[in-house]
Symmetry: D2
Subunit: 267 residues, 4 copies
């Protein structure tokens, strides 16, 4: 993707608005993201929401806006696709296709994005075991598309909703690196749900071996976003995160062996 | 405690064997830990184990060994106490008293360690909400002992036992810092259960705002430890972690406000 | 559906093979199920599996077999559909459309089954809150299809995989009955994953107010099923469950009020 | 215990107030419980509460009240002990000693109740695996006290606090019966936290093979209880539950084999 390569020497940062709301808003955030040094743009044209009465994204119009923002800034763009009937269409506009947590085991969709010949960002389901997550990736790979990036985004546990939206599970990062050749990144925005936690969570993820970050950013010059406003960071914070991601880092981390992982359930 | 102060400018590292097994083993690890630059020594004389048929620690003899190793190295020592009847006795030997995860809500024990006039390390229960954890600390504080350090050590969730022993919950760190004046540290050894994950987990914890670390170390010159051998790191790894803990760190992290934490449960 | 009405005076029992494998196997099980007194037939033509290398169902041929077995026995049939492009086709063969746990938040699929003008069986996602589950039903209802039956099938928690496949969450039954007019049934086969637990789980579900059951049955005269053999019960056990479901039952259960449900999080 | 025998032909019902508050309140509830047909009385003299600022029980005075209520009604009484130093004292007043969820892995306490030569009610910890629970029982049995009754009381999972206090895990009942000779009962009051769910949960537990019930009851003629008022049922509801417990029940349930339990983690 125009220079963005996951799993290479340095981590990549994908950033952008939660949802594409308008051309002005998207281009504004895209330019701020580019200026902050991010490697890729994110933005949702189709937004899966718990209730059908909540904002669902602006759809196809959003794809055109994303393409324009990507062309203006030179940042490759990733966006979510939920409907197998729209994969080919979304793939015309996007550089990378995102499969969201709710659709991690939507197998017809996985097959379709596998056939689209575009890189795929596969988010972990909210209660997916590592085995289930790698199984989902296998559905994409079965279509001979091996350009898959995994993304941890927080899991469901008893602690959810008391002080953070989900529980960020960083232990899974070295486990993925041990069991799979696929790069793995972290979404600190959904994993915490709290804007002031996004920067420390990003740094923690990088220290734990994450190959990159997927971050929601808002433009303070614009109205509050239609969704997930509480977890969006500003461009200055993003710039600090990008600098941290670029800094040389002691890559001393031994990847655990299979045997070590298997022993992790004892008393 | 002889210079070790939690919650001050720089994070502290507590390290040592899982269990005290002999004078030679404990002093060997203590010297290695001191040489690696750690601030305090840890070691269990009384070991709570899931089965009564597993090694339970060497008890009172272990306390004497710990005191000797502490005196030899100059490192203050923390050790677990499980029985309220032994608190005063353990307090004669230890510089800091540890209440383990299994006993986080053992209120007679909390009251007794509160009365002991020693600093207390209060580990989070395996399924404790933040509210329950702070409530437990309040039982200690009620005895007018406010010298309490909280320690996150991994929680129970569906993912436990597949690739790591517990799920390390770093989101709780900024939440504790927002809601309480108490310092909070992380135990990466129990939170991962995998030796090769301890270093990245330590770095992640420090980047997330942890005031310190509690780490299990083994001495490769000695026989394999009686408990938790799979999660013990060696002294060279510990030395790298200590250097990382001492390095200047961008302390940009805004502590979340109460309102931000309360909003973290939405869609 | 030819006499099967959920949420009426007596609970309904849906039973059948996990997967449709052949005409003989399906008709054999269907006849046994009918003889045992069940109200509806179940069977998967499309099987979502964690790995793409596992048996995926026999697809369209399976739909024809199900239709034939339904016509032979007079039992209405429910079967899973995963692909929005196949909903209209599946609806030609099935009396009721099932949306599986993995697809509970597959919103394009929910809209499509909503438009199909057939009753819908909506299984709970493995980590779905009640709010998320009712939100998913709302996507179907938005298409003016209100003929929706909810199905609890076990959730993910730390206990999964030690002695049962999932954790059966019966507390959700009265909560659904309090918050929604939709009938709610239980799948004891997936919620336990252990054949000998299916009968007690069925009885427990009915005593807890479940409007019915969804059960996997195998025909001992035939080869072991291709999937989930360990949780399939035989026809005699099913017959006992049906008799239990038909027996008069003290319907004393007060449905909890909203306020009672809201208070359930205290110490 | 004066005729109450767990694990025999018919299930036993233990009922009483959450906490002993006064002689009048306790005797009032005890007589109502006796009249409803329950087999044993429960009541807390020492109440472990999340916050030290909440009502902690009336302590030793409560033990005298319980003994008197037990003598008046002829119902054996079970009460919680939290402090190993008080076990012998509590054992003078109680017929059965309860170890609460918070203390399931309080090993000095377990050893002390093991030595007290009284039957023990061992509640499951909120995140205890079956292995950890049976390990805790082993600490009691090690003192040659094998008169132990296990009690499931709800576990922690993501669903806690949305519509019920905990998640009632009935799958564990047949698993305990497969792996251990110890009787196992269910506490539907804490497992649901909602009074109107207690009756259906009780019936479900009995159908799932529970050897008995532990239920909180309030006396509507008296002021609202100091703790857990929202989950206390009245005496008429208790009477219905007792009748249900006494009714003949199809004990068809095959206890799962070890192999069946081990297979429950597959796809």
């Amino acid at each position: 993707m125009r220079g963005a390569r996951f799993g290479a020497e340095r981590p990549l940062v994908i950033a952008g608005p939660c949802a594409v709301e308008s051309y002005e808003q998207t281009l504004g955030v895209a330019r701020a993201v580019q200026k902050a040094g991010a490697d890729m743009l994110r933005g949702g044209a189709f937004k899966p929401r718990t209730s059908p009465h909540d904002f669902q994204g602006i759809g196809l119009e959003g794809l055109r806006i994303l393409r324009a923002a990507s062309d203006e800034t030179g940042l490759p763009v990733v966006t979510e696709v939920m409907d197998p009937r729209l994969v080919a269409h979304v793939a015309e506009f996007a550089d990378m296709l995102q499969v969201g947590s709710r659709n991690m085991q939507n197998y017809p969709l996985l097959a379709e994005v596998g056939r689209a010949r575009k890189p795929v960002l596969l988010k972990r389901g909210m209660a997916a075991s590592l085995c289930e997550w790698l199984g989902a990736a296998e559905y994409i790979a079965q279509q001979e598309n091996f350009d898959i990036v995994l993304c941890e985004r927080g899991i469901k546990a008893f602690a959810c909703g008391e002080y953070s939206r989900h529980v960020l599970d960083l232990n899974v990062i070295p486990a993925v690196r041990s069991l799979s050749f696929l790069p793995v990144i972290v979404d600190p925005s959904h994993a915490t749900g709290v804007a002031s936690m996004v920067e420390p969570a990003s740094r923690a993820a990088l220290e734990f071996g994450s190959h990159g970050l997927l971050i929601e950013v808002a433009d303070s010059a614009q109205p509050e976003p239609e969704c997930d406003a509480a977890q969006a960071i500003d461009a200055q914070t993003l710039a600090r995160i990008v600098r941290f991601a670029r800094a040389p880092r002691l890559e001393s981390m031994a990847v655990p062996t299979f045997e070590e992982l298997h022993m992790a359930g004892y008393d």
